[in-house]
């Protein structure tokens, strides 16, 4: 049994999501190999080789993989994947984009958002916005899984795997990268932040998020948002937490002016400690909060900023 983990990276550095996917692979058991597909991505491969439990790192360094285009990576993963028992990657927007393509080309089903490994063929995943948890058994010859990284602790970096370059260029020729508009932020990414402060429609506008950013900086926190705050244009899309946004599980999640719709709860209710600040005592967010404060956020947040 050999497991292929596809690394998440930006050609320069390995994302911490991959450490967690390797943890899921470790729970399955067997040899673990990592594929780094990209361009000028040698540093990523060297870093991936240090992940504990990994025996080999394959590097497919080619211009056609530079932008992680799903059409090209999908062909590569389907080609290599034939000789593995399991293929795993993070349930990130990158993983969700290419892995179903590879699965279809391999003529197997994919199991999305795995939160627990029961055995080499049995996995646990949420559906219906996390309101139900299914234990599923795969009869496919190759198990293709995306891993919900918030449910796993990353492996340590005590390994020293061999790094092997592979000459395997695929270009489907049907898509090309035009441009990217990446959000620049000094704050921790939502996926790895220990504390997250999120704002909702109650924030009223984008300028008011400055208050939350100040609070976040005092706590070393990342900043998130509800769909309503993103739709209203207060903050960019990559801050959306929820069923169809980012799934997070920090030590502390502070929800400010967020009502607590099912879809929002789906993205944060596995946080260790939840604080809700809302002026409506009936807001459903209070039902999942460890600490609730029924008050006007425009009084509470400045007071927190002053007292912390």
């Amino acid at each position: 049994m050999t497991i292929l983990v596809i690394a998440e990276h930006d050609n320069a550095s390995l994302k911490p999501e991959t450490h967690k996917v390797v943890a899921a692979a470790t729970a399955i058991g067997g040899d673990i190999e990592i594929l780094v597909a990209g361009h000028n991505c040698q540093d990523v491969a060297v870093n991936a080789a240090t992940l504990s439990g990994v025996s080999k790192v394959l590097v497919a360094d080619n211009q056609s993989y530079a932008d992680q285009l799903a059409e090209n990576i999908g062909l590569l993963v389907a080609d290599l994947g034939k000789s593995y028992s399991h293929i795993l990657t993070a349930a990130s927007t990158t993983g969700k984009n290419f892995l179903p393509r590879a699965a279809a080309l391999l003529d197997v089903n994919q199991i999305s958002d795995v939160i627990r490994v029961e055995s080499s063929d049995t996995f646990v995943r949420p559906f219906y916005a996390g309101n139900a948890i299914a234990t599923v058994k795969s009869q496919d010859t190759i198990k293709v899984l995306t891993i919900r990284t918030s449910a796993f602790d990353g492996v340590t970096q005590e390994g020293s795997a061999a790094v092997v370059a592979i000459d395997n260029a695929h270009d489907a020729g049907v898509s090309s990268f035009v441009s990217g508009e990446m959000t620049e932020s000094e704050r921790p990414e939502l996926g790895s932040a220990r504390v997250i402060v999120s704002g909702g429609r109650g924030m009223q506008n984008g300028e008011n998020f400055a208050m939350l950013e100040e609070l976040a900086d005092k706590l070393g926190a990342g900043v998130g948002a509800s769909r309503a705050a993103v739709d209203a244009g207060f903050v960019p899309n990559d801050m959306q937490v929820g069923q169809t946004g980012k799934i997070v599980a920090p030590e502390l999640y502070i929800a400010v002016g967020i009502s607590g719709a099912i879809q929002h709860l789906a993205g944060m209710k596995d946080s260790k400690v939840i604080v809700a600040i809302n002026k409506d005592p009936e807001a459903p967010i209070f039902q999942v909060a460890d600490y609730g404060l029924e008050a006007d956020l425009f009084d509470v947040i400045p007071a927190l900023n002053e007292q912390l």
Binding site: A104, N109, S176
Partner: protein, 249 residues
């Protein structure tokens, strides 16, 4: 230019489902069913492309039992021209859905297939990508903007780090994200008009696809519930609790 929009009948997004007491599945009896919200966004986008003169025909297709004709009618009332029901009582997995849709794509030959990025029941986020792979097409997933430029589609995608724009040769697959558009409400005259629009029915057998289920559901459980928390009276008390009780700051 023709646009094909695959849509799914799902439990309404406002409904909180419960797990059956025998742990075999969720209980959907007597719950409100709707068109999957992301599919509704896909229908809206297709209709807008038609209204803008870019598309000439919008065809919706749904795989499901007879009940899904209700959602096909909803899409027709929103402005789609005709519907196709792929009739089955089974609940196929995304790979089988993609194979069925692939056959429909071969018959209909659309320039764009517009799907939702995700169904809110299965939460799979797979079908569009699988269909694109089977059809050998490019894909623009999680789209927040779609522009047709000659023989190319320019798709702006919502990704974890921000936004990425890709150019796809047509025909192509596009899957919708929440901010692509805000779907309209069907007007009464359009609901009446939709009743006369055609829906054709086909079957997996006619399409030559065997529905295979290689993933067996062993059990379905409710998520662990959180124990009730406490209300605090002041900012001071909140800080105190977080420091000494929860020890998270």
């Amino acid at each position: 230019m023709k646009i094909l929009v695959p849509i799914k009948r799902v439990v309404d997004y406002n409904v909180k489902v419960r797990v059956k007491s025998d742990n075999t599945d969720v209980d959907l009896s007597n719950l409100k069913m709707s068109i999957n919200p992301f599919c509704e966004i896909a229908v809206e986008e297709a209709v807008r492309l038609k209204e803008a003169g870019v598309a000439s025909e919008v065809v919706v297709v749904s795989v499901g039992d007879k009940a899904c004709q209700e959602q096909i009618r909803t899409a027709l009332a929103l402005g789609a021209d005709r519907g196709i029901q792929v009739d089955t009582d089974q609940k196929p997995l995304p790979l089988s859905i993609a194979k069925l849709l692939h056959k429909v794509v071969e018959q209909e030959d659309p320039s764009i297939v517009l799907l939702g990025k995700q169904t809110i029941d299965g939460d799979n986020n797979q079908t569009g990508q699988m269909l694109a792979a089977l059809a050998g097409m490019g894909q623009g997933t999680f789209a927040s903007e779609l522009k047709i430029d000659g023989d190319k589609a320019l798709v702006t995608r919502e990704v974890d780090g921000g936004l990425v724009t890709v150019a796809l040769s047509l025909p192509a697959v596009v899957t919708t994200d929440l901010r692509l558009n805000e779907p309209r409400y069907a007007s009464l005259p359009n609901i009446m008009k939709a009743k006369r629009k055609p829906i054709t029915v086909t079957t997996p057998e006619e399409l030559g696809v065997t529905i295979e289920s290689t993933v067996e559901v062993l059990k379905v459980e409710s998520p662990a519930s959180r124990s009730a928390g406490v209300m605090v009276d002041s900012v001071e008390q909140l800080i105190e609790k977080l420091k000494t009780e929860a020890k998270v700051i």
